[in-house]
């Protein structure tokens, strides 16, 4: 099979790439909201994995897809709570810059 022909490996590698991009965002962005959405990118990378495995490994069982549904649900809930916290912290600190949030340390 030509490597160009798309197979499971392609999806898995794509997932890894997306995961890495999301991770880079998480590690390097100052804005809390940006970090939050980068986490969403990482979760989506996982979803690619899950759905790809669902198709290639257990096509008839839908486990992966179901898993992905739950992941999306949880992710949405997390974003909701996350934004609420960001709003709360903004209210306290007038900033969403994560570098400022180091009162708790050592």
């Amino acid at each position: 099979m030509l490597p160009l022909t798309v197979g499971l490996t392609h999806y898995v590698v794509l997932s890894a790439l997306l995961f890495a991009i999301g991770l880079f965002g998480v590690l390097s962005k100052r804005n809390a909201v940006a970090v939050l959405i980068c986490i969403e990118l990482m979760l989506n990378a996982v979803n690619i994995n899950l759905i790809a495995f669902s198709k290639y490994i257990t096509p008839t069982l839908f486990i992966g897809q179901l898993f992905a549904v739950f992941v999306i649900t949880v992710a949405a809930a997390e974003v909701g709570v996350g934004l609420a916290i960001i709003i709360a912290i903004y209210r306290n600190r007038l900033s969403v810059n994560l570098d400022d949030f180091d009162w708790l340390k050592w």
Partner: protein, 639 residues
């Protein structure tokens, strides 16, 4: 009665011990009562001792087989230690002598210590002292003897330091104890070796086993044991080089000096050697050692005594010298002679100490003989009794010292120790000289107008008189013509000495010469010009002698520089290296690593995420590159 005493000889040490307890716990607030208890205790003990002595010396069976009764003190497999009483002529003689002298001293002390705030305590201490000494004399077991030996040391410590508020007394007491400790270290090693080699420390069993020591050990080991055992007496009996404590021990009250120096503690060493003579007898080298140490000490101490100025100090060096004589007697193979000298010495030395005490009492503790003079006019009893003592120690017949000294000299000569004989003879001359120097300076010549002496009360003088009597006649039990002493006190077989007239005459001549010389220098020459001239001419020798060969200084230097220096060094090592560097260092490192790791928690959550993924990477790498095999090799892990 006699039978009862023989079989209950344990009463002898017990009675003074009870007196001690009674005084400490009951009668301490009432001084006179305490004194009565103490005197009562020791006199009762004397009565029992006398009965025991009577029983022993009327029954020759005791020569063959000592009477021993013992109880178990403690035991375990391989180690049985009894405490018991061994009654035989030697111990009977000893307890008789000790109780007799001690009784007199106790009575004397009533007068001497009058008004002292520690009166009761003093009597309790001396009672304990007497008890310990008597236990030592009667011990049937070397451990028991060692116990008594140390208790005697303790009492001497307490009594020397009796005036504990005086720094000199405090230091002297400490010095006495520690010097003896050094010696006891040797003795203890010897006892341990005996126990290990022969499996017993009971005197009777031990003497049987040592007789056939080849079955148990080698000659070399036995020699070593004998030498070790002898180290104890060197210390306790003030032999060179551990004699240093003895002169300092004069810090105690004078009756104590008498008790320590005359009858009891110092002769304990002689007694111990006599008790273990069966070991020494097997080891000629050890015997030689005893003899040489004795002779050397005798001469050595006598030379020091010549230059001393304090009355009790001269007596102290004289004691050292006289005990050297006893050791010489034992060392040349005559237990009879050694113990005989111990016996006579007890009387005349106790006499002299008590008399000296009487003098000091009268002069309010002014001790320098050069500041005395002519005391005999004001204190006739004290003076004349002292003269009797002087004659006895100088060896003028028929006083006690003559007979015993003569016997030692003869024994040395007969056994072929010519050098030692000469040394002993010269010592006899010196003894006569320095003792009469003391007598002349103190009691004769011109009175010192600064002094206002008065005779002591009868409670003090009566014991002096009794002791003077004993010093005069005490030697008659062992004259060459009627050798009662040597029939009873001997090792293996009676040591019968043929009267050696040359030695007798020689020693009398030497003694007379010494007295004459002293007379010339200190009485005839009123201004003491010659003495000063001599001292000036032989300045160096005089200084060395006056400073007691600087031995004290050497010890002091050793103690303060070497021992304390090492102590300081070790202490510094302990707090700076062991504790500082290692213990606190480790603790500091722990804290430091905590501090430094703590800084990693910067408070920035993205740092945390970064560390998180570094962790993930580390896990992956560990997993990928450490399979089960390699991991288990490196960290000892997976089965």
């Amino acid at each position: 009665m006699v039978e009862f005493a023989l079989y209950n000889a344990w009463l002898v040490p017990l009675l003074p011990a009870l007196a001690f307890l009674a005084i400490i716990f009951l009668t301490r607030p009432w001084p006179m009562l305490s004194a009565l208890v103490a005197v009562g205790g020791i006199v009762a003990s004397f009565v029992v001792s006398a009965l025991v002595a009577y029983g022993v010396f009327t029954n020759p069976e005791f020569l063959e087989k000592p009477l021993v009764y013992a109880v178990r003190w403690f035991s375990m497999p391989g180690l049985n230690v009894d405490v018991g009483i061994q009654v035989d002529p030697v111990s009977a003689m000893m307890i008789f002598m000790v109780t007799m002298v001690a009784s007199l001293i106790f009575i004397y002390a009533i007068g001497y210590m009058k008004g002292d705030p520690g009166f009761s305590v003093f009597f309790s201490y001396v009672s304990l002292f007497a008890a310990s000494m008597l236990l030592l004399a009667l011990s049937s077991n070397l451990v028991e003897m060692f116990v008594a030996w140390e208790l005697v040391g303790l009492c001497s410590y307490l009594l020397i330091g009796f005036y504990s508020y005086k720094i000199s007394a405090r230091e002297a007491a400490k010095k006495a104890f520690i010097t003896c400790r050094v010696a006891d270290f040797g003795l203890l090693l010897g006892l341990l070796a005996l126990q290990i080699v022969f499996g017993t420390l009971n005197l009777v069993e031990l003497s049987d086993k040592v007789a056939h020591y080849e079955k148990y050990t080698t000659f070399g080991v036995l020699t070593l044991i004998a030498v070790l055992v002898f180290i104890g007496p060197i210390g306790k009996s003030g032999q060179f080089p551990l004699h240093v404590w003895l002169p300092d021990a004069m810090e105690g009250p004078t009756p104590v000096s008498a008790l320590i120096h005359a009858a009891t503690m110092v002769v304990a060493g002689v007694y111990l050697v006599a008790r273990t003579v069966f070991i020494f007898a097997k080891v000629p080298a050890a015997m030689e050692l005893v003899a040489v140490v004795g002779a050397f000490t005798a001469l050595f101490a006598a030379t020091i005594a010549v230059t001393q100025r304090e009355i009790k100090r001269i007596l102290a060096y004289s004691t050292v010298s006289q005990i050297g004589y006893m050791m010489l007697g034992l060392g040349v193979g005559s237990m009879t002679a050694g113990l005989f000298h111990m016996w006579t010495h007890a009387f005349f030395k106790a006499l002299m100490f008590l008399a000296a005490g009487s003098v000091l009492h009268a002069l309010h503790h002014k001790a320098d003989i050069w500041e005395m003079g002519g005391l005999i006019r004001k204190m006739p009893v004290t003076g004349w009794t002292f003269v009797v003592g002087g004659l006895a120690i100088a060896g003028i017949p028929p006083f006690a010292g003559f007979w015993s000294k003569d016997e030692i000299l003869v024994a040395a000569l007969e056994s072929g120790h010519y050098v030692l004989f000469v040394m002993a003879a010269f010592t006899a001359f010196l003894t006569a000289f320095y003792m009469w120097r003391l007598i002349f300076l103190t009691f004769f010549g011109e009175e010192n107008p600064a002094n206002h002496p008065h005779e002591s009360p009868p409670v003090m003088t009566v014991p002096l008189v009794i002791l003077a009597f004993l010093s005069a006649v005490g030697g008659l039990v062992g004259t060459p013509w009627a050798p009662v002493w040597s029939q009873w006190i001997f090792f293996e077989h009676p040591h019968h000495v043929e009267p050696n007239y040359w030695v007798m005459i020689g020693s009398v001549v030497l003694a007379a010469a010494g007295i004459y010389l002293a007379y010339q220098l200190y009485v005839v020459d009123k201004a003491k010009v010659k003495v000063k001239e001599l001292a000036e001419r032989y300045r160096h020798i005089y200084t060395i002698l006056y400073n007691k060969y600087y031995i004290d200084e050497i010890y002091l230097w050793f103690n303060h520089t070497i021992i304390d220096g090492a102590a300081k060094l070790i202490y510094l090592f302990d707090i700076y290296i062991i504790d500082g560097v290692i213990v606190n260092g480790l603790a500091y490192l722990t804290g430091l690593s905590g501090e430094s790791l703590r800084v990693l928690n910067t408070g920035r959550l993205q740092n945390y995420a970064l560390v998180f993924f570094l962790g993930v990477l580390a896990l992956v790498v560990l997993l990928a590159f450490t399979g089960p095999s390699s991991a288990s090799l490196t960290l000892g892990g997976v089965k």
